[in-house]
C-alpha cells in the first residue's frame, strides 16, 4: 500500500496547480447560458494546454495520461474550485466509447471537435417508458438505402439544446430479445426530424430536454460498434461514465464541503457540527473508494464495483450536504438563496440520474455479493 505520488506525478501536480493558479477563470456565472459559454471557454483553455482529453491517446489530441494523473487532475480542479468543462458527456462518455468501438474514420472525424468543444455531445438513452429498464426502449431505426430513419422519443437529454451530436440508442431488430436488437448511433441534432423541448425541472431551470424524433436521418456510417451491438457499446459508455465520474464527483463534493465549511465556521450548534463532520467523513470514504477503484482498475483492467458504490454514496452525500446547508440557514431557508436553494433542489435528482440508487444497489447485490435476482 502506497498512497504517495511518484516524482513524475508530483511534477504533473505542481505544473497543473500553478497553471490553474494562472488561468483560473473566476466564479462561474449563475445563469445557464452564460455558465455554458464560461465552461466552453474554460475547456478551450485546457485543451490548448492538451489537458481536455487528459487520458486520451496523444494521436487523438489527448495527453496520454495515466488514470492516476486523471485523479490528480480532478483533485486539483476541486482544490482550486475551478469549473467543469462544457462538453462533459463528450469527454467522459462519447470520446472513450469512440476510442473503444469507433472506426478510424469516426475517430478522425469526431474526436477533435469534442476536445475543442466546437461540437457538444448529448446522450439519448432514456425514454419516457424506459428508465431503469433501459433495454426496453422503443425508438426505432429502420435502414432505407444508406441511411437509417429514426422515430421515437427520448427524455432527460442534458445539453440537447446546445448539442451537435447525440449518442442515440435505438431498436434496429424488433424481433430479437430486448438487449440484442439495439444499435448505438451518432445522430446529427441539426435537422428537421429532431425537435428539442426543454423540460422544466423542480429548480425552475431547463437543464434537461425532451427529444422528439420524427423520421430523423442517420447515415449508416454513423453506427458505432456494429448493428444490433448497441447494448454492449452502451454498457461501455455507462462503465466509463461511472468509473471516470467517481473522481469528478468526489472532487465536486470536496468543493461543496469547503463552501459549506466557510458558512458554518465557528458554529457552536452540536447537531450541525456532528452532521457536518459526518459528511466530511463520508466524503473521505468516497475519495478512498475511488482510489481503491483505481487500483482495482489498474490491476484487472476493468472498473471494479467501486464505480457503483461511488455514484451511490455520492448521491447520498450530496443530498445530505445540501439538506444540512438548508437546515443551517434556519428560518431563512424559506427564502430563495441563489446557491443553496438551487443545490438543495438539484440534488434530489442525484439518486435518479446516471443509474438510480436502487439499480446501483441491485448491481452490488447481484454482481458483487452474488445474491439471486429478484
Amino acid at each position: 500500500m502506497d498512497l504517495t505520488l511518484s516524482p513524475a506525478e508530483e511534477e504533473f501536480r505542481d505544473q497543473l496547480r500553478s497553471w490553474i493558479g494562472d488561468n483560473h477563470p473566476g466564479r462561474e456565472p449563475d445563469s445557464d447560458d452564460e455558465s455554458f459559454a464560461f465552461r466552453r471557454d474554460w475547456q478551450r483553455k485546457l485543451n490548448d494546454r492538451g489537458w481536455a482529453g487528459l487520458t486520451w491517446p496523444e494521436r487523438y489530441g489527448g495527453a496520454g495520461a495515466t488514470q492516476i494523473e486523471q485523479a490528480i487532475f480532478f483533485e486539483e480542479i476541486a482544490r482550486a474550485r475551478a469549473p467543469q468543462m462544457a462538453n462533459v458527456l463528450g469527454l467522459t462518455m462519447g470520446g472513450p466509447t469512440l476510442i473503444a468501438h469507433g472506426t478510424d474514420d469516426q475517430k478522425e472525424r469526431f474526436l477533435g471537435p469534442i476536445l475543442s468543444a466546437d461540437e457538444i455531445w448529448c446522450q439519448g438513452f432514456s425514454e419516457p417508458e424506459s428508465g431503469s429498464d433501459l433495454a426496453s426502449l422503443k425508438t426505432r431505426a429502420v435502414l432505407k438505402g444508406d441511411e437509417y430513419i429514426v422515430t421515437g422519443q427520448k427524455v432527460w437529454t442534458t445539453f440537447a439544446h446546445q448539442s451537435k451530436w447525440c449518442m442515440l440508442l435505438a431498436r434496429t431488430d424488433q424481433d430479437a430479445p430486448k438487449h440484442r436488437g439495439l444499435t448505438y448511433f451518432l445522430l446529427d441534432m441539426e435537422q428537421d426530424g429532431v425537435e428539442v423541448r426543454p423540460l422544466v425541472q423542480i429548480t425552475g431551470e431547463a437543464e434537461f430536454n425532451e427529444l422528439f424524433l420524427e423520421e430523423a436521418r442517420i447515415p449508416a456510417d454513423n453506427v458505432i460498434g456494429g448493428v444490433d451491438n448497441g447494448w454492449r457499446v452502451a454498457i461501455t459508455t455507462l462503465m466509463h461514465e461511472r468509473a471516470g465520474l467517481a473522481f469528478a464527483l468526489q472532487a465536486r463534493v470536496q468543493i461543496a464541503l469547503g463552501e459549506l465549511a466557510d458558512e458554518l465556521r465557528g458554529s457552536d450548534d452540536p447537531v450541525i457540527r456532528q452532521r457536518f463532520a459526518q459528511l466530511a467523513i463520508e466524503a473521505q470514504v468516497l475519495r478512498l473508494l475511488a482510489y481503491r477503484g483505481l487500483t482495482t482498475a489498474m490491476k484487472s483492467g476493468e472498473p471494479g464495483p467501486e464505480g457503483s458504490l461511488g455514484k451511490w454514496l455520492w448521491a447520498d452525500i450530496n443530498q445530505d450536504l445540501t439538506t444540512l446547508a438548508m437546515d443551517a440557514r434556519g428560518p431563512a431557508a424559506q427564502l430563495v438563496d441563489d446557491t443553496w436553494t438551487y443545490r438543495f433542489l438539484r440534488a434530489r435528482a442525484n439518486s435518479i440520474e446516471g443509474g438510480t440508487t436502487e439499480i446501483l444497489k441491485n448491481i452490488v447485490a447481484e454482481r458483487v455479493l452474488g445474491l439471486p435476482r429478484g
Binding site: 465556521r265 465557528g266 481503491r292 444497489k361 441491485n362 439471486p372
Partner: protein, 338 residues
C-alpha cells in the same frame, strides 16, 4: 499510488485468518466468553510476534486487528496493544484504564487525581501485569496491577471481560515522551480495524443466510428489501476498511494526515460495524435474536467496541473542530451561518 496490501501484509492476513479460525471456533469462543474457561492461546500469539507487531507498522497492526475482529477472538491482545503503544517499555502484559467513574465520553480529559479514584470498563485487567492509567492534566502512569483493586464488572460483550479498578494513592511510574498523540491515534485505528473485521464477518453471514433462507418459495435475498440491506452492509464495510487502511498508512507514512484520518476511521468504522450487525440481525429474522445463534456475540462486540477508545460522536467532534474551529474558542473571523 497503490491502494492495496503488499504481498507481505497479505501473508500476515492469511496467516492470521487461518490461525484464528483454527484456534477460536465459535464453540471455543463460547466456552471462554460464556462459560469462563481461560483463553489458552496467549503463548502461541506471543510466539507469532503479534504483541509487538506495531513495530513493523500500524498497517500491519491494523491487518491483524481486523482479523481478530473477524474471528471474534476473546483474547486480551487488543488491550495489550493499547498499553504497549502508550508505554513502549512495557514488560509483560498490559491494559489501559482510561474511563473515570462518572466521567465524560471525552478520553482526552481524564479527571482522576494521580493516583486515587475509580476507573471503569478496563478490559482484560485480570490477566494484565501493568495498567496504563490516565489522570488529570493528560498525564499517563504505569501502575502494577497488584497495586490496585481489580473487580470484575458486567461486560455486555463477554468476549472482552471488563473490570472496575480502584486506586487508593497507588504508586505509579509517570510515563513521559512525545509519543502519546500518535499512540492514541494508533489505538483508535486498531479499534477501527477490529470493527472492520466484525463488519466483514457479519456481512458475509447475512449474505449467506439471504441466499439460503427461503420464504414464499424464494430465497429472501431475491427481495430488494433484503438485498439492498446487504448492499448497504457491503458499502459500509468497504468504506470502513478504506478509511482504516488509509489512517493506518498515514500513521506510518504521512503523520500530518494521521490526526484527521484516525478520527475519521474510528468514527466511521464504529458506526459501520454496529449498523451492519443491526441490519444483519433483521435479515436473519427470529433466529438471529436467539442466544443459540452467534450473531449476538458480534453485535455486542461491535457495540462495545464503538464506545471503546472514544465513540463516534467524540471522534466526529474532533473532525468538526479541525474543519469548523473549536466552539470553545470562537474566532473573530467566525462567519455567521446563512
Amino acid at each position: 499510488m497503490n491502494f492495496d496490501l503488499t504481498e507481505d501484509q497479505r501473508e500476515i492476513k492469511r496467516t492470521a485468518r487461518e490461525f484464528l479460525a483454527s484456534r477460536y471456533t465459535m464453540e471455543k469462543i463460547r466456552a471462554i466468553a460464556l462459560d469462563g474457561q481461560p483463553d489458552p492461546h496467549w503463548d502461541e500469539i506471543a510466539e507469532l510476534g503479534w504483541p509487538d507487531i506495531a513495530e513493523y507498522g500500524i498497517l500491519e497492526l491494523a491487518v491483524v486487528a481486523e482479523e481478530m475482529g473477524y474471528a471474534l477472538a476473546p483474547s486480551p491482545l487488543a488491550a495489550h496493544w493499547a498499553a504497549k503503544l502508550l508505554h513502549p517499555g512495557l514488560e509483560g502484559r498490559g491494559t489501559v484504564a482510561m474511563w473515570d467513574e462518572d466521567g465524560s465520553a471525552d478520553p482526552e480529559t481524564p479527571t482522576m487525581k494521580a493516583l486515587t479514584g475509580v476507573k471503569i470498563a478496563v478490559p482484560n485487567a485480570d490477566v494484565a501485569d501493568t495498567l496504563v492509567v490516565t489522570a488529570e492534566g493528560g498525564r499517563h502512569f504505569a501502575v502494577k496491577a497488584s497495586d490496585a483493586d481489580v473487580q470484575p464488572a458486567r461486560a455486555m460483550d463477554a468476549t472482552r471481560p471488563l473490570f472496575t479498578v480502584r486506586f487508593d494513592g497507588a504508586d505509579g511510574e509517570e510515563l513521559t515522551g512525545d509519543h502519546f498523540g500518535r499512540a492514541w491515534h494508533a489505538i483508535a485505528v486498531m479499534a477501527a480495524a477490529e470493527s472492520v473485521g466484525v463488519a466483514a464477518r457479519v456481512t458475509g453471514m447475512a449474505v449467506d443466510y439471504a441466499k439460503e433462507r427461503k420464504q414464499f418459495g424464494r430465497a429472501i435475498g431475491s427481495y430488494q428489501a433484503v438485498s439492498h440491506a446487504c448492499a448497504q452492509m457491503f458499502l459500509e464495510t468497504e468504506g470502513a476498511r478504506s478509511v482504516t487502511y488509509w489512517a493506518a498508512w498515514a500513521l506510518d507514512h504521512e503523520p500530518e494526515q494521521a490526526f484527521m484520518a484516525a478520527n475519521i476511521a474510528k468514527a466511521y468504522a464504529s458506526d459501520a460495524a454496529v449498523n451492519v450487525c443491526r441490519s444483519a440481525l433483521q435479515v436473519h429474522g427470529g433466529i438471529g435474536f436467539t442466544w443459540e445463534h452467534d450473531l449476538h456475540l458480534f453485535l455486542k462486540r461491535a457495540e462495545a467496541n464503538a464506545h471503546a477508545f472514544g465513540d463516534a460522536r467524540w471522534h466526529r467532534e474532533q473532525v468538526a473542530a479541525a474543519l469548523l474551529g473549536d466552539p470553545r474558542e470562537p474566532t473573530a473571523s467566525a462567519a455567521p451561518v446563512a
